[in-house]
Structures are given as C-alpha cells and as structure tokens.
C-alpha cells in the first residue's frame, strides 16, 4: 500500500473523506492526489477559521496585532496550501488519467512535503511575530527585525517556509507534470480518458506547468541567494544584488502574477475537459476545440507581461511605457475570457446540459472568475489603478480569483471523487454547496470591491477610521455564508456513500 494511502487512513476526520479505493487498481494515480486534496482541506479549515477571526478583530476592536497576524496566516493558507494544493491534487489525478502514467516516486512526495512543511514553518514564524502579509512586502521582514518588531529567527524560519512552498510550486509540481506528459511509458490500465496536446483539456495543463517553471525560475535564483545569505552560507555582501528591494519585488511579482494565471490555465483546461462529459445529448465535445485553445493561448501570451500592472503607481520608477503595456495586456486577457465565455455558452446551447452539482459548481465558479477578471481589468487601467491600488479592491480581486478557482476545482472533484474513493457524493448537499458558495463568494467579492471603491485601504487594522466598517460587516456576513458552504461540502465528503448503493434522494428534490 502506498505511503500516501497509509497517511490518509491514519488521519482523523479528514482521512475518512478521502480513503482511496484499492479495488480498482488505480491507486498509483489516486493515492498522492488524494493525500494532497485531503491536506488542502485541512488548510482550508485553518484558513476559513482565520478568515472569520480577521474581520472579528476589527468589529470587536481587539488588538491590531491580531489583525495583522490573522491577515498574514489567512492569506498564505488560502492561496498556497489550500488553493494551490487542491489544484495539485485534482490536477495530478487528471494528468495521470489523461496520459496513463503513475503519480508515484520522489516528485509527488517532494511536492507534498515542501508545500505542507513550508506552510507549517511559515505558520510557526507568523505565530512567533512575523506579520508580513501574504506577499511578504520585501524588505519588510528584514526591516521589522532591525526595528525589533519581530526576531531575526522568525524571519529565517518564515523565509525557509516560503522558500519550500515556492520550491513546490515552481520546481517539484511543474517538473512532475511535465515529466508525466512528455516522458516515461504509458500504462494502458491507468488511462482513464486519453487526451492529446491538441485537446484543450490537456493544452492548459501543459501551458500552466511551463508558466510556473519559467516565470518562477528568476524568483528561485533570487530566493536561493537570499536564503543562503540568511543562513550565513554566503556573506550578505554577495547577496546584495538579490536583496535590493526592486530586484526582489519584480522577481516576486513576475512569478506571483503568473502563478495566478497558471492556475487559471489549469482550471480552464479542467473545465474544458469536464463540461463535455455533462452534455445532455451525449456529444462529449466542445463547440470548438480551436476557439477553446485560442482562448488559452491568448490568456497565456497576454498575461505573462501583464504583471507590470502591479507597479503602475511606482511611476516614473517603472517607466510609463511599461505601465501602458501592462494596461493593454491586462485588457487583452479579457479577449481570451470572451472566447472562453463564448465556447462554454455555445457548447451548452448546442448540446444541452445535465445539471449535476459538480458541473454547476464549475460553471458558478466560472461566473465568479469572470467577475474577478472584470475587476482585475478595471484596476489595471492606469487611470483607475492610481485610485484603487492598495485598497480593498485588490484584496477583493485576490480573494475572488482564489475562491473562484477553488470552487471550480471543488466542482471538478465531484466528477473525480468516485474514481478516487469508490464513493459518491450526495447531490442534494451538492446543490446547497453551490447555492451558498455562489451567494457567499459573489457577496464577499462585491463587498470588498465596494470597500475599495470607497477608498478603504487593504491590510489595514483601522476600518473604523472613515466609516469603512460597514464593508467590514458585509465582508464578515458573506464570509460566514462562504464558510457555511465549505462546511456543507465537507459534510458531503464525510457522508459519501458507496458507489454501488442507490442514490435515494435526487437533485430534483432540492
């Protein structure tokens, strides 16, 4: 039995949700992905709780330090060990089934360990006092240590944690995916749904892995240099080039921006692969693979350089020409989105849809993703960027893109769950999950965007300063609804039934 299966079996509560079915002979493509998905839900529980505490610290006027602690932990837990790891799990299971290769060996183990150990170390560092937000705000960690706000030990521990997480996202996971797609021999018994590179369901997967590896490599070089200097392996003077804020910031955002785009490419490709399976007339194909692929290529090409929109307000230290370019490219991603929208709607229009909770969750996540895309384009326009940068608008955008993609993955998981565990999920609970998630997700997104429109700063422990607390309350309420949807989802995983047992209640009853 795989180590991954053993860990799942020995994990209380969460282990019960993801016990791998060993009767199918598919353990080699199921065990590590199931472990990753399980771990991602553990982190979701942590992130969800922190997301609930964060506004509460302001509403109940607690010490501002608690706000910055929960802010750092909530953001980091949601983005990396939850969202990214969920994508890794479902994505690797998909990759394995598409090309008939086992998800076993050193790389899945490394990806799992680096992500979870890294996130755990970062958590400890934050609890030791390091409050640097999800995006590190370099050189804040160092400056804070020099000012005596937190210890240098917490900085070293935190950096080590972040480094491990980055190593997972930039090296372990993409290399594993590319290795599976292009090397090794296919084992027919592991093929679930064979796909070629012309297939949008596989093209996105490939582009995504390449994006992570290529856009992340500069950050790995900078990060390694900084880490070596922190550990005293090389003298600080040798790391001076990498510790320059402008070097670190640009290397960080080239990656961080493209990380989100790579995750979008991956989930789009999963949507393109899943949608045809739920068409009412049994066609099992998209309206047009050509248009779907074009959408992925446009998204890739425009998004690589649209990261420049992060530095528009640094003018003229970021030359205006680069900001104009970032502005145009950001809106160019919208053309890719327009093609995706058309493909989805045309496919459903021509062939009809079997409305099962999984695919409805994917489509609702897609709506949220488009809402987020619109908000991202607006704030990437230079005129608006100067009035929205650093406000809750950006937090709304970041949270929404993560929540939207996670919802799409949770929908895709509905489809793969029976193959992995040999059990199926209750459709009635599924419908409730989708309803609550849609209301909570869209409500929280709009509340945060409205806060930003009203000038409410992000990462800011004094919402009462200018009457912004109203948005804080709204975010809290919709956040609770979002949290409730996760509880329903988790409950449905716990209550999953053996695949052979008849489904007593039908969706129609919901």
């Amino acid at each position: 039995m795989s180590i991954a299966s053993t860990i799942i079996q020995n994990t209380p509560i969460f282990g019960k949700m993801f016990t791998v079915d060993k009767s199918t002979g598919l353990e080699e493509i199921n065990a590590w992905p199931a472990l990753m998905i399980m771990a991602s839900f553990v982190w979701l529980a942590v992130a969800g709780l922190l997301g609930f505490v964060m506004p509460a610290t302001q509403i109940f006027d607690l010490d501002t330090g608690h706000f910055y602690t929960t802010l750092t932990l909530h953001g980091a837990a949601l983005a990396f060990p939850f969202s990214f790891q969920l994508m890794m799990g479902v994505g690797l299971h998909r990759s394995g089934g598409c090309v008939g290769k086992a998800v076993t060996g050193v790389f899945p183990a490394l990806a799992f360990i680096t992500m979870n150990l890294g996130a755990a170390l970062l958590t400890v560092a934050v609890l030791m006092g390091l409050k640097v937000s999800l995006i590190v705000m370099y050189p804040l960690p160092i400056v804070g240590a020099q000012m005596g706000i937190w210890s240098m030990n917490s900085v070293i521990l935190g950096f080590t944690g972040i480094y491990l997480v980055l190593a997972c996202m930039i090296l372990c996971y993409p290399i594993l995916v590319l290795k599976m797609l292009f090397f090794g021999t296919k084992r027919p018994e592991l093929v679930l749904s064979e796909r070629s590179l012309n297939d949008p369901g596989m093209l996105g997967m490939t582009l995504s892995a390449l994006t992570l590896l290529i856009a992340g490599t500069p950050l790995v070089i900078v990060g390694t240099t900084v880490l070596f200097a922190l550990y005293g392996i090389i003298p600080m003077t040798m790391a001076a080039w990498a510790t320059e804020p402008v070097v670190f910031q640009y290397a960080f955002f080239i990656f961080a921006h493209n990380l989100m785009e790579a995750m979008a490419l991956m989930v789009m490709s999963a949507m393109y692969a899943t949608l045809p399976l739920y068409l009412a007339d049994g066609t099992r194909k998209l309206f047009s693979n050509r248009i779907a692929n074009a959408a992925l290529w446009i998204l890739l090409l425009t998004s690589v350089t649209s990261f420049l929109h992060h530095f528009i307000t640094l003018y003229p230290n970021q030359p205006a020409s680069l900001s104009y370019w970032g502005n145009i490219m950001s809106w160019g991603t919208g053309i890719g989105a327009a093609l995706s929208i058309f493909t989805v709607l045309a496919t459903v229009w021509q062939h009809g849809l079997r409305a099962e909770p999984g695919i409805i969750a994917v489509l609702a996540g897609f709506v949220l993703y488009i809402l987020d895309g619109a908000s991202a384009m607006v704030t990437s326009n230079i005129a608006w960027a100067f009035q929205l940068h650093g406000t809750m608008w950006q937090s709304g955008h970041t949270m929404t893109v993560i929540v939207a993609m996670s919802m799409m993955w949770m929908g895709v998981l509905y489809h793969h769950y029976p193959v992995i565990t040999g059990r199926k999920l209750d459709p009635v609970l599924g419908v409730w999950f989708v309803r609550l998630f849609a209301v909570g997700g869209i409500g929280a997104a709009l509340s945060m965007l409205a806060g930003g429109a009203a000038g409410m700063p992000r990462r800011f422990a004094a919402w009462n300063q200018e009457g912004w607390m109203i948005y804080g309350h709204l975010i809290w309420i919709f956040g609770l609804i979002l949290g409730a949807s996760f509880v329903v989802y988790a409950y449905s995983l716990l209550k999953s039934r053996d695949i052979s047992s008849p489904v007593v209640r039908q969706v129609a009853a919901a």
Partner: protein, 187 residues
C-alpha cells in the same frame, strides 16, 4: 459623466456593467438548456460563428472605448503634460519612514499643479491623498533603494484638508501612518 466614471465608484459600476449582462445571459442559457429544454437547439454553425463575430466585436469596442476615454484621467499622462506645458509647478518633496512622513511643505495652492516627489528610507510605503469627501485621489508606491523618487503632478481643484495615508503594508503600525495636506485658495 466621464469625471465620475474614472473614480473608485466609477470603477465599481464599470465592473458591474461588464458583469451583469454576462451573468444574465449566462444564467439564461444554462437554465434554459438544462432545466427548460436540454434538447439540441439546432442552431447552425454559420449562425453560431456570426454570433461569435458580433460578441467579439462588442467586447473589443467596449474595451478600446473605455481605455481611450481613460487617457485624459491617467496621472502618467497628466504629469507629462504638466511638465511640458506649465512653468508654475509647485513642488513637494517627501520622505517616508516607518511610520511617519517628512514633507517639505504641507500647504498647496488650489488650481496650480504640484509635483510630489517621494522616497522611502526603510521599507515599502505608500503616499495616498484623500479628498475631504473621503475618496482617494491618487496613491504612490515608495520603494526603498531607488535612485529616483516616485513622482507625479496633481492639480487640486478645491481648498480643504486632505488626508494622507500609507497604502503599502509596512508593519504593525501601518494603519497609523498618516499626515495631512492643506489646500488653500490660489491668490
């Protein structure tokens, strides 16, 4: 109208303008083709590709239109324009350090352009100026270690007290990093 569109709330309505028609059509299609009648709709490929052409054209026109209209409101363009056409620009040098600002002056004449040139001496900071009515007028990102200051030219229209806030998270007292500018009537 355009003056309102290119504010924070204008951005909010613009986002809804892009979202709502999409969301409406999306829900209509999904509902109709899954609940009402999931049978094939029999639309020809020719009809679909014409629809695709119309959809992309609409999207393209909206995208280009909005961005062209925004040119007038871009601080990068306004700054470059003022620098080449005005000789009466006031100037304010500012320096940010956790968690306060040093400003060469806190009084500015309304109606006359003012150039803000800002630096940070420790970590990342912001310099955001808020109108007395609460909306943010602009923000600047101040990054330590750069040889040039972050800089832009702004013309205040109305006199009053304008709050300054740091909008780049800079540690535990970030929310207390504030200042104030006084805009006076031009003489």
């Amino acid at each position: 109208m355009l003056d309102f569109l290119f504010t924070g709330w204008g951005a909010f309505w613009m986002t809804l303008f892009m979202l709502l028609p999409f969301a409406f059509i999306f829900f209509y299609v999904i509902h109709r083709k899954s609940v009402v009648d999931s049978g094939p709709s029999g639309s020809t490929d020719k009809k679909m590709s014409r629809l695709e052409g119309i959809w992309l054209t609409v999207v393209f026109v909206v995208f280009v239109g909005v961005n062209l209209a925004s040119l007038k409101f871009m601080p990068t363009i306004a700054s470059a324009h003022a620098a080449t056409t005005r000789t009466d620009i006031q100037s304010i040098d500012l320096s940010a350090k956790s968690w306060a600002y040093e400003l060469s002056s806190r009084e500015i004449e309304a109606g006359r352009p003012v150039r803000f040139s800002g630096r940070s001496t420790d970590t990342m900071h912001g310099f955001a100026v808020y109108h007395p009515d609460g909306r943010m007028l602009f923000t600047m990102m101040l990054m330590p270690g750069l040889s040039k200051p972050t800089s832009l030219v702004h013309t205040f229209k109305e006199p009053g007290k304008y709050k300054v806030r740091c909008l780049e998270y800079c540690g535990v007292a970030h929310h207390a990093m504030q200042d104030e500018l006084t805009i006076v009537k031009s003489n």
